[in-house]
């Protein structure tokens, strides 16, 4: 059984994307664990990791999802498990049993979880697994990550089995050379996948803890662009961002004029209503008819816009287009070095 820790020195490098791609290429029975969760969803009194849910659904993993993650928060892990290492080992044994390939998704960077022994390098060391290093960002961010990763892994006696450069937007020649010079196999590079920036309206609602006051049928609508509608309606209609597709509009719940204009536009996916003001029933009815969700939150427009901006797009199990794009983009990765 092959096991691999997918790790990055910095957060949001694209570990889940790479893990998904690699797992698809590997084939066979796939297992998954993510010792320290970071992408939580609390629903129906249960706390699970989004990425864990993704892998469970995509690869039809039968083990209970609770087993994939020891916890999200240090104090919980320490409270629940007197012997964290022992627990990690036991979970590993359960989750790898009968599997051809176990993906172990590391913590957000090399630091988080270190005091618990749940950082990526410590986990790789304890479970005797290699690391697949994911690099992204500008060239010098990647240089820093690579340099640190190389030093830290050597110190811990952990092998970097390969590196993947993710979210390419510029020339990677320099970093590729550096990887080669360090003797680390470069498995390939993945371009920036625009599709991964798209979020579903329902996901936005969850992340904002918003009340869906209308248009529930449109919670699957795709959101790519965000517009804060703080202008008069004629100005908004003229605004270039208003002409974009798959847009989420943020406006005060009392701006019936803006909401109506948004609902009348075919490119609107979702409207966030701020200040906990719900528009009149005729507008709610229109949103229902058009299947455009109206999400009500209490915060003011500025705070709401910040929150929306900070929502990290993820891959949800039912986002087949994203998963397919990832598969296509990772098709060219060379996984032979991982098999050694």
């Amino acid at each position: 059984m092959k096991k691999l820790v997918i790790a990055s020195a910095m957060p949001k490098a694209g570990k889940t994307t790479v893990a998904l791609g690699i797992a698809k290429k590997m084939g066979g029975k796939i297992g998954y664990m993510k010792p320290l969760g970071d992408n939580q969803i609390y629903k129906k009194k249960r706390l699970v990791d989004y990425d864990a849910a993704l892998f469970r659904d995509v690869f039809a993993i039968e083990e209970p999802i609770d087993d994939f993650t020891l916890g999200f928060y240090h104090s919980k892990v320490l409270h629940a498990f007197p012997d964290v290492k022992k627990e990690l080992e036991e979970r590993y044994n359960r989750l790898s049993s009968g599997k051809d390939f176990l993906i172990i998704e590391g913590s957000e960077d090399f630091v988080r979880g270190n005091s618990l022994g749940l950082d990526s390098i410590s986990v790789a060391s304890q479970l005797n697994a290699d690391i697949l290093l994911v690099l992204s960002g500008d060239v010098y961010d990647m240089m820093d990550s690579l340099s640190f990763a190389d030093w830290a892994t050597r110190n811990k006696g952990v092998k970097i089995a390969g590196a993947v450069i993710d979210k390419i937007r510029e020339d990677t020649h320099k970093i590729e050379k550096e990887i080669e010079e360090r003797g680390i196999p470069l498995l390939g590079s993945i371009p920036y996948i625009d599709e991964l920036d798209i979020m579903k309206a329902g996901y936005v609602a969850d992340k904002l803890f918003a009340r869906v006051v209308a248009g529930e049928g449109g919670l699957g609508n795709r959101v790519r662009n965000i517009l804060i509608a703080a202008l008069s309606v004629p100005e908004i209609l003229r605004h270039p961002d208003f002409k974009k597709e798959h847009k989420l509009i943020i406006t005060g719940g009392d701006r019936s004029d803006v909401i109506t204009a948004a609902l009348n536009d075919t490119g609107t996916s979702c409207v966030v209503l701020t200040n906990n003001i719900v528009p009149p029933s005729n507008i709610l009815a229109r949103a229902d008819r058009k299947n455009i969700p109206l999400l009500s939150i209490r915060s003011n427009t500025y705070t709401s816009a910040k929150k929306v901006e900070n929502i990290e797009s993820i891959i949800l199990p039912d986002e087949k287009e994203k998963i397919e794009k990832i598969r296509e983009a990772t098709e060219q990765l060379d996984i032979k070095p991982l098999m050694k």
């Binding site: 609390y42 009194k45 999200f72 104090s75 919980k76 409270h79 629940a80 009392d254 200040n275 939150i297």
Partner: protein
């Protein structure tokens, strides 16, 4: 210098008109003419630098050259010289100046207005205005306005904040033949306000009804306190214009965001026993009725009509307005059985049938007016060709003369020119007569409302832990905060004597688990941070936590959510509280209104408070009796009394809660806003689930 008694404003011994005009059509001429034509007995001194004579009176070039004393001066000069004119009047020891001139604070010229008042006050002179139409006073008598000259003296005082409307009201009162004790506009209220005028009118021995038109009140609370001092038999009808929109204010409390100024005015008027009319028509109708009719001895109203249709309309209107119709068939039969024809009806409405004439009405009305159990009468007439109108009119007049001061009788006639003429004539006699039966019933309802028992209730003293509340507030202020944490607000609620489910703040998972076990499942978990106003918005509130595992995951979820969505927030801990069963969710609140001070709110609460807005207001302090009325006013009151087989909820506990919150607001004026949302009401008791308190920290 002492200030003159307002008596000399209403009954000046001698008057000067500064800016009197030689030219007909000018305000300065009209005012002179009105004063003279009104039969004013004192000396009238026109003042104009041109000198000469106006309407037979010698014109003085300035007020200082007048030999005799002057109590009242009317200033009708341009704004640019008005301040000097006022100063001269003040030096002349004039007691009151009515500044008719406009062009002051209403157009932003505040400094000149302040200067004018300052100059006046230096010599003990008071100013009415500026920007007014003058004053009519029956006690003088004097018509010192530039409005219609003919004003009938009577017992109605009209006080208007609008000059133009006030002038029009003079005309309207003349048309309606309403007798006035005074009509005065207060204009810019630079000095004398409606409160000053009202406090005079309360003691003038003539006025029975005050008709007030206002647009804004700087000190509403002062007005409410003043109205408490009015004579019991004096009634006030008010029109308050300028309804404000409730904008989406980003305030911390629901109460603050739901309390628009118009709703508060509504509440304040109700509490003060001021009848608020929505239209001028209603206002005039009510005033005329209140002036003409005595207090009803009870709630039994009888409709006497010659037409079934109009009788039904009247009955419908009575239901709409909540006017009680007598339904004691025995008494109705005994009273009217003999006076109705065979095909008539005594069953209220009492139908005399279409052939009824003056004599039939007389018989029926006299029976009704002599029956002790009938307390008020609505007499309706539909014009038919069978009945001569003159005897009918005479009957109505006779009934009014004989019984009008014992029992309210309201008339409504429907028909053509003939009935319209009768109505006019009846009105001319001060008899409440209406073209529309709805107006008649609305006016009768106003009469009942005006005489509602406004007995003062002694305030119950309550045992609240003031020192504990003081400590919490001091800690918050010491921290430099203006918003209490949820748990601090709950502590205050406990100190006030309210039922708050057990709660504790924990700072780690172990403590969370132990506390949950101690309190007992199920529990709720909420983040405590002064930096997180809307906890639900960041996943900081979890409900229905049933066991240790859920506590652990819940704690983890809350802390991670806070880290993610409010990374800079100061997290003081997580509150673990007992989760209580469902009940009727209500909201109790306090907000601070700039005019009325502390205002209380009650209504349907929970997550729908901002959607349904089913809330009512009262100006604090509020008696338990008033709270009881307040609670009954919400549209969803039936949820508390029990619907669809549900049991009646503990309304007394709601009343007690609101009362206690009122005491809290009274004893701790530094509390600027407060929400209890929800206050969950059960069959027995009510529990505070969440509270939010804002304080004012004095710098």
């Amino acid at each position: 210098m002492t200030e003159a008694d307002l008596k000399y404003l209403f009954s000046p011994r001698h008057v000067a008109v500064v800016g009197a005009s030689h030219r007909e059509g000018k305000i300065g001429y009209t005012v002179m003419k009105n004063i003279i034509d009104s039969g004013y007995n004192g000396k009238v001194y026109p003042v104009n630098p041109k000198g000469g004579e106006i309407l037979g009176k010698k014109v003085y070039r300035d007020i200082l050259s007048i030999n005799g004393s002057v109590d009242l001066a009317l200033i009708i000069v341009p704004a640019s010289i008005a301040v000097n004119a006022v100063e001269e009047c003040a030096k002349k020891a004039v007691k009151f100046a009515i500044v008719i001139t406009s062009g002051f604070s209403e157009i932003g010229n505040i400094d000149a207005e302040r200067e004018m008042v300052k100059k006046a006050r230096e010599h003990g002179m008071r100013i009415l205005g500026p920007n007014v139409f003058g004053l009519y006073s029956a006690s003088a008598p004097i018509n010192a306005t530039f409005g219609p000259s003919k004003v009938r003296p009577g017992n109605i005082a009209v006080i208007s904040q609008s000059g133009a409307l006030g002038i029009a009201m003079i005309g309207k009162t003349a048309e309606e033949n309403m007798g006035l004790s005074t009509i005065v506009s207060i204009g810019n209220k630079a000095d004398i306000t409606e409160a000053d005028i009202m406090s005079y009118v309360f003691n003038d021995d003539i006025t029975k009804v005050i008709f007030l038109y206002i647009e804004g009140l700087e000190n509403g609370r002062e007005l409410m306190e003043l109205v408490k001092k009015k004579p019991d038999n004096m009634k006030i009808v008010a029109i308050k214009a300028g309804k404000s929109k409730v904008g989406a204010r980003a305030v911390a409390s629901h109460t603050g965001s739901l309390a628009g100024s118009d709703k508060i005015f509504d509440a304040a008027f109700k509490q003060a026993g001021i009848l608020r009319a929505e239209s001028l028509e209603d206002g005039f109708n009510w005033v005329a009725t209140l002036a003409a009719c005595p207090k009803p001895a009870g709630k039994n109203v009888v409709i006497i009509t010659n037409g079934g249709g109009i009788g039904v309309l009247a009955a419908d209107a009575c239901e709409k307005y909540g006017v009680g119709l007598m339904n004691d068939m025995e008494v109705l039969n005994k009273t009217f059985g003999d006076v109705i024809p065979k095909f008539g009806s005594y069953k209220n409405p009492v139908d005399l049938t279409g052939q009824a004439g003056g004599d039939d009405y007389k018989e029926a009305l006299e029976k009704a007016l002599n029956e002790e159990d009938i307390h008020a009468i609505i007499a309706l007439y539909c014009q038919t060709d069978m009945t001569p109108l003159e005897p009918l009119k005479n009957t109505f007049r006779e009934m009014q003369r004989k019984y009008g001061n014992r029992k309210p009788i309201i008339y409504s006639l429907f028909g053509g020119e003939g009935t319209d003429k009768i109505i006019e004539e009846l009105k001319g006699d001060g008899i409440p007569a209406f073209y529309d039966v709805e107006d008649a019933v609305s006016s009768l309802n106003a009469l009942y409302k005006a005489h509602e028992d406004g007995k003062k209730e002694k305030r119950e003293s309550l045992d609240i832990d003031e020192s504990r509340i003081k400590k919490v507030i001091e800690n918050v202020a010491g921290d430099g905060r203006t918003q209490l944490l949820g748990t601090e607000a709950k502590e205050v609620m406990v100190a006030v004597g309210l039922d708050v489910p057990p709660f504790k703040v924990v700072k780690n998972i172990e403590h969370a688990v132990n506390t949950a076990e101690e309190i007992g499942y199920p529990v709720v978990m909420k983040v405590i941070s002064e930096d997180i106003v809307h906890k639900t918005d960041i996943g900081g509130v979890l409900l229905d936590i049933d066991n240790e595992k859920e506590v652990i995951e819940g704690y983890e979820a809350i802390i991670r959510n806070c880290r993610q969505y409010a990374p800079n927030a100061n997290i003081r801990g997580v509150e673990i509280a007992k989760m209580v069963p469902d009940g009727v969710e209500t909201i109790v609140g306090i907000t601070t209104d700039p005019s009325f001070g502390k205002v209380m709110m009650f209504g349907l609460g929970g997550i729908y408070v901002e959607v349904l807005k089913d809330v009512v207001f009262r100006v604090a302090p509020v008696s338990k009796r008033e709270i009881s009325k307040m609670v009954r006013e919400i549209n969803s009151y039936s949820l508390l009394t029990g619907v669809r087989g549900e049991s009646r909820k503990d309304i007394d506990s709601v009343i007690d809660t609101i009362y206690r919150i009122g005491i809290l607001a009274d004893k701790f004026p530094e509390i600027s806003e407060l929400d209890i949302n929800p206050l969950v009401v059960y069959e027995k008791g009510a529990k505070v689930l969440d509270a939010r308190i804002s304080i004012e920290v004095k710098k």
